[in-house]
């Protein structure tokens, strides 16, 4: 891997996740390493365990067995996982998950409540991020008044609010039409390139997966392929 000398951001060792007292085995022993600055696509069929894997990486859920290390430390043993979620990672959801009663500008400020930024600083930073994703004319619009592509761009701006070094995206173009999907992917790839973020993206779209440097293929809770594509490509 081209990032072999880069710092290891994530290391999974025998990672397992079971639900319903072991009746559902979402992950059946997964091992991998992801290095700083990598663009990794996790692909697989529906129900293969790729979203579960993303949840583990985002500390949204705990593994049933095995270990997940973040920068050399066991994630589950960290005292404050909310601080990890707030500062270390940015999350982009397929369904955007913006808060409907808050404007674009306010939605982007939400993660910043867990920082020492003052209200004016939060507002200024949110405005800056929205401008960087091309939404300067939509700052005071509520999500219901934005197109799907615009909502996802607000969500991307929100994921960057606290200067995360890792971006986790769960089917970020899954709810978008082709044109909007292309724009959103361009934005994500640009952010990865410009900000040297580690980008881990779950998708079932082979076209999107091809743009990643590395593809992890998940099937029945196991990684069945770990392929290198080379540097990320433009659409």
């Amino acid at each position: 891997m081209e990032t072999a000398n880069a710092e290891c951001v994530f290391e999974a060792v025998g990672l397992k996740k079971e639900y319903d007292d072991g009746q559902v085995k979402a992950l059946r022993g997964v091992d991998f390493r992801i290095h700083a600055g990598e663009f990794v696509a996790i692909v697989g069929q529906s129900g293969s365990g790729k979203s579960t894997l993303l949840q583990m990486l985002g500390a949204l859920d705990h593994p049933s067995e095995g270990q997940l290390l973040y920068r050399g430390k066991v994630l589950d043993e960290q005292n404050d996982l909310s601080a990890y979620r707030a500062r270390e990672i940015g999350f982009i959801f397929q369904a955007f998950h913006l808060l409907p009663t808050f404007t674009a500008l306010e939605n982007v400020q939400m993660p910043m409540f867990e920082t020492s930024r003052t209200a004016p600083e939060r507002k200024a930073r949110a405005g800056e991020l929205l401008r960087s994703v091309g939404l300067e004319a939509r700052l005071h619009h509520f999500p219901g008044k934005l197109s799907g592509g615009e909502r996802q761009r607000v969500a991307i701006a929100r994921s960057l609010a606290n200067g995360a070094s890792v971006l986790l995206a769960d089917e970020p173009t899954g709810n978008l039409d082709t044109e909007n999907a292309r724009h959103v992917m361009e934005l994500i790839v640009r952010l990865h390139r410009e900000q040297r973020m580690t980008l881990i993206l779950v998708t079932h779209d082979p076209g999107i997966a091809r743009r990643a440097e590395r593809v992890l293929e998940v099937c029945d809770g196991r990684i069945v392929a770990d392929k290198l594509n080379g540097p990320p490509t433009s659409p």
Partner: protein, 371 residues
């Protein structure tokens, strides 16, 4: 955007539901303000009446009724010689219907007693002597009965001349029909009977000495009970019942408010399960989520409390104009009571939000990825 703005926005995302819940609390708090304000007002009105008359110690036999039971006037002679007693004034006080008024205080006083001294004549004069078939009316009583000097007033079977309108310096005094004790005893057939002895202590008597005097009166005249003028109504069993009923009714109203707020906040948590999960996923601490729900319910309680205070004050103002109680009491709508009512409402909000907040803290951030 501040955290308070997040809370306000969360609360008013369903304005109709929030408004109805607030109204539910407001009605409960209005009940507290009205009922407690009235019962405390009744107590303080009588205490102020005593103060205005310059009465330090009240000797009566209140028992279970609002008006004391009659006893022999001769008991006055056993009170007079006690230390620190400067003057006494015997009274026969009644709460009875007088012409148009369903309930009015009729305060008959020993002619020449100190209880006549506080009356300031607004118009007319005081009765000439104990036997003159005349009354004076407190200013509120005159308004309620729509009487002026020169009119007559039917009291029991007797038609009495209204010879004066007086300002007694206290709500209870101004709401009274005042006449001489001898005349009222004759009209009601209660010759030799009184139900109150007002005692004025010698100047410079301390509160401790007054309390001692009460004990001495109680020992010397066990048929009656002496209390400080300022605590006159505190011993009344009837008032205790009123007070208990006020708090009982208020508590029920508050309980309804608690259930209303709890229901609303639970609904809000259920409806916002995914939103809360998203907030957890983007790094909000569970404690912040708990705070958000608790602050929302506290704000709901606060706003409901303010509404309740306004409703309660309006209600009480309307209630005291009702003929049945007009002139009987001045409700206690002190800032302290109103502040206490709002504080109760905020506590109701916080208490009601505890379970929903706990529920919200149990949500998993992984739920954000579903749906």
């Amino acid at each position: 955007m501040t955290f308070l703005a997040v809370i306000i926005r969360g609360l008013f995302r369903r304005p109709v539901r929030t408004g109805l819940t607030m109204m539910g609390i407001a009605i409960g708090i209005a009940a507290v303000v009205a009922l407690v304000g009235m019962s405390r007002g009744f107590e303080s009105s009588w205490a102020n009446g005593m103060k205005s008359r310059g009465t330090d110690v009240v000797v009566s036999n209140v028992g279970g009724a609002l008006t004391p039971k009659p006893f022999s006037q001769s008991l006055v002679d056993r009170v007079k010689p006690l230390p620190h007693v400067a003057e006494t004034c015997a009274l026969l006080v009644d709460l009875t219907s007088v012409e148009k008024a369903d309930m009015m205080i009729v305060s008959s006083r020993q002619w020449g007693g100190f209880d006549w001294q506080n009356l300031k004549i607004v118009s007319g004069r005081l009765p000439k002597d104990a036997k003159e078939k005349a009354v004076v009316l407190g200013t509120t009583a005159a308004e309620t009965l729509q009487k002026k000097v020169g009119d007559t007033l039917q009291l029991e079977t007797e038609e009495l001349a209204v010879v004066g309108i007086v300002d007694g310096g206290a709500f209870v005094e101004n709401g009274s029909v005042i006449l001489s004790l001898e005349l009222y005893q004759e009209i009601t057939g209660n010759e030799g009977k009184i139900n109150v002895i007002d005692v004025r202590a010698t100047p410079g008597t301390t509160k401790d000495e007054l309390s001692e005097l009460c004990q001495k009166i109680n020992a010397a005249v066990p048929e009656v009970h002496a209390v400080l003028g300022s605590e006159n109504m505190r011993d009344s069993q009837a008032l205790r019942v009123i007070r208990a009923m006020s708090w009982g009714t208020s508590s029920l109203a508050i309980l309804v408010g608690v259930l209303g707020v709890m229901n609303t906040m639970l609904m809000t948590v259920f409806e916002r399960t995914q939103e809360i999960s998203v907030l957890l996923a983007i790094g909000w601490k569970r404690l912040r989520i708990v705070r958000m729900i608790l602050y929302e319910s506290a704000l709901l309680g606060f706003l409901g409390g303010l509404g309740g205070v306004v409703l309660g004050v309006i209600g009480v103002k309307l209630l005291v104009t009702a003929p049945v109680i007009r002139g009987l009491l001045e409700p206690d709508l002190s800032a302290a009571l109103l502040a206490r009512a709002v504080a109760i409402s905020v506590l109701v909000g916080i208490f009601s939000g505890l379970y929903p907040a706990w529920r919200s803290s149990r949500l998993m951030p992984s739920q954000a990825l579903h749906g």
